[in-house]
């Protein structure tokens, strides 16, 4: 990150010309600020994805990071700089799947409900643990990851993916049920349910593991932290367990 973050990431105010060129209110749209903000967003989403497998993640930390993501999204929406993903080839899983754990579950459920997951080899594996379906298709997701959200020039496609991206933050803005529960697992009301795991239902903790696996599987984006790599070994092991059950 280097000197780009030497002064922290400040919201641009008219008087604050120190960090960026120019001291105008519109300077929030300057490339360096946008890049910093985007980088912070990416970092935050990766932090949310990386759950400890053996020990419960720290709830306070997760809440603070999620709030930060929400703040960035709000600002980006206000700026009008919220961009959508360019449509990928048919059959490719939406890139928003890479974004956060809850979205992974959401996307998989959509696949089951709306269309057969084309990136899954066999039709029937989609009926089994959805998380596994994602694992072999990791290659499909290894598209240019330099920017998760690229400028979309074609307006027609905006609608579909805007919807997906909205869903990311819908979960954080509590309009829909079930997704953010992956982040804040409501463990006192959910019981281990093998059926729930196999049907990829959210809200039960074992599927939190499944979705956590999805997170690792699909983290083809260059993650800032190297702990992703070491967790892939665990991923293989955990995938074996799920397959055998």
């Amino acid at each position: 990150m280097g000197t780009m973050f030497a002064r922290g990431l400040k919201r641009k105010s008219p008087e604050d010309g120190e960090d960026m060129e120019g001291g105008l209110a519109g300077a929030r749209a300057t490339p360096s600020y946008s890049l910093q903000r985007q980088s912070l967003l990416d970092m935050s989403l990766v932090k949310l994805q990386l759950c400890h497998m053996l020990v419960e993640p720290n709830l306070c930390r997760s809440v603070l990071i999620a709030n930060t993501v929400r703040q960035i999204q709000e600002e980006m929406s206000q700026d009008g700089t919220w961009r959508v993903v360019a449509p990928q080839a048919a059959g490719r899983a939406p890139l928003d799947r890479l974004v956060s754990t809850d979205i992974l579950c959401r996307s998989v459920r959509e696949q089951e409900g709306e269309r057969p997951a084309p990136d899954v080899g066999d039709g029937h594996t989609a009926d089994l643990v959805p998380g596994l379906a994602v694992v072999p298709s990791a290659q499909a997701l290894r598209s240019p990851q330099s920017s998760l959200w690229e400028v979309d020039s074609s307006r027609e496609n905006r609608g579909g993916f805007q919807k997906s991206l909205d869903q990311i933050f819908e979960t954080l803005e509590n309009k829909t049920s079930g997704s953010v529960e992956e982040l804040f697992a409501d463990v006192d009301s959910s019981y281990y349910d093998l059926d729930a795991v196999l049907t990829g239902m959210v809200g039960s903790t074992p599927s939190a593991h499944a979705s956590g696996l999805q997170a690792f599987a699909s983290a083809a984006a260059p993650p800032p932290s190297s702990s992703c790599r070491s967790d892939l070994g665990e991923l293989d092991h955990a995938v074996e367990i799920l397959v055998e059950t």
Binding site: E56, C60, V180
Partner: protein, 433 residues
């Protein structure tokens, strides 16, 4: 007179120390560690034959308080790390403390045994049972002195009341009840009753997606047994009165300092998150610790603190890096001196900070084996924030963020402090006074 701190002892623990607490007299100092162990130190009594050893703390008792557990329902480990220790006020010869990990609180009794009974009728000195037919006379067993043995035994186990991770326990001034707080709930217990607790605060939203705030710390008022406070990740403190209703979801007082708009950033909320809240001994004030500062609040004024002390303001320009390496989520504790005239909190690079509220002076000291000789005064440290670095100053970029002092404790009556630096426990005392 300004105290001059000197290092009295450095004790190496087997594991990272996770909590430090003096008892009410200051004669005992308890530490908990990441491995679930509790080590208690006792202050040496005055001894004419060893005049220099007065006031030294030596190991008194060591025991395994919590073991690692596995929650089979969730397929998750429950860490044995001791999050907090709180002493009960002493009522007889034995000492009692509460220790807690993420899920279970235990009441431990620490008692001394220095006598042994001899001359039993039904068994020999080596414990073998005597043949009853051989006993022709009865005798009264006599108590004989033996080497001091300190025993720790678990007297109560308070379990299964917390879904989320316990961050605080606090003994009530009534000496009968205590509270335990996790991320979303606070429970009230009676010390004698383990199968029941009362939920007094619940901030869990009906829909977990709406969760934006968690409880970070809670404490009972030192004198008013119906009053407690809890702090949140949004930088607020709520004071609750248990007389007003059974479920204290509505606060009696709400302490929040308005945000300074000129310093607003994406990290504002994170650094405002309160990591510790402590009432003063007098009960008139409370202190909150957020990432960069310590604030003293008058309980009668909710709108803003009466004092704000910067702990390491030079980190403000490094927040993004500290976010990246997760240091921004470090939870520093804070403590009052016995007379409430000074407050102390930790920082990075094994630095800790003390603020003299009356003299309006502050000092940065370092807990380090290399830099302090026993009984020599600690030299104040200074962090250079920019420009030319003077001799003996350390630049911000050279700070070691792995050496963090999260836990400190101050003797209730004297100028003796305990500072936990990773595996090491430092005890400093005031040479002058």
């Amino acid at each position: 007179m300004q105290p001059l701190w000197s290092q009295q002892a450095v004790l190496r623990a087997a594991d990272i120390i996770s909590t430090v607490e003096f008892n009410h007299s200051g004669d005992l100092l308890a530490t908990g560690d990441k491995g679930g162990r509790v080590v208690i130190f006792q202050r040496e009594q005055e001894n004419k034959s060893r005049p220099h050893s007065r006031g030294e703390y030596n190991v008194y008792s060591t025991f395994q308080s919590h073991e690692p557990e596995f929650d089979y329902l969730k397929s998750l480990e429950i860490e044995e790390k001791i999050n907090k220790i709180r002493w009960l006020p002493q009522q007889n010869a034995a000492h009692f403390l509460l220790s807690t990990n993420d899920k279970t609180i235990k009441l431990w009794k620490i008692s001394e045994r220095d006598k042994r009974a001899e001359g039993y009728n039904l068994k020999d000195e080596d414990g073998r049972l005597r043949d009853p037919f051989r006993i022709t006379a009865l005798r009264v067993p006599i108590l004989k002195p033996m080497d001091l043995m300190v025993e720790a035994s678990p007297r109560r186990i308070f379990a299964n009341a917390h879904t989320y991770h316990i961050n605080s326990i606090s003994v009530n001034s009534d000496h009968e009840t205590y509270l335990s707080a996790d991320d979303l709930r606070i429970n009230l217990w009676h010390l004698e009753i383990t199968d029941r607790s009362f939920n007094i605060v619940d901030i869990k939203p009906a829909n977990m997606e709406e969760l934006t705030e968690v409880i970070t710390a809670a404490e009972f008022h030192p004198h008013q047994c119906n009053v407690f406070v809890y702090s949140s990740s949004k930088g607020t403190v709520r004071l609750c009165d248990m007389r007003s209703s059974a479920l204290c979801d509505r606060h009696s007082k709400f302490f929040e300092e308005p945000e300074d708009p000129s310093s607003r950033s994406f990290f504002s909320e994170i650094i405002s998150s309160i990591s510790d809240v402590k009432f003063s001994h007098s009960g008139r004030y409370m202190m909150t610790r957020d990432y960069l500062s310590v604030k003293v609040w008058d309980l009668n004024m909710e709108s803003r603190p009466v004092e704000t002390h910067q702990v390491h303001e030079y980190l403000r320009s490094k927040l993004c890096s500290l976010y990246e390496n997760d240091c921004i989520f470090d939870k520093f504790e804070c403590c009052w001196s016995g007379s409430d005239s000074a407050i102390m909190t930790g920082s990075y690079n094994n630095f800790f900070r003390m603020f003299d509220r009356n003299a309006r002076r502050d000092v940065t000291l370092e807990a380090s084996r290399e830099n302090s000789k026993p009984r020599a005064s600690l030299k104040p440290r200074k962090v250079c924030t920019g420009g030319k670095r003077k001799k003996d100053e350390i630049s911000v970029d050279s700070l070691d963020f792995n050496k963090k002092i999260l836990h400190t404790a101050w003797h209730p009556a004297e100028n003796i402090i305990a500072v936990a630096a990773t595996n090491n426990l430092y005890i400093f005392q005031d040479k002058v006074n």
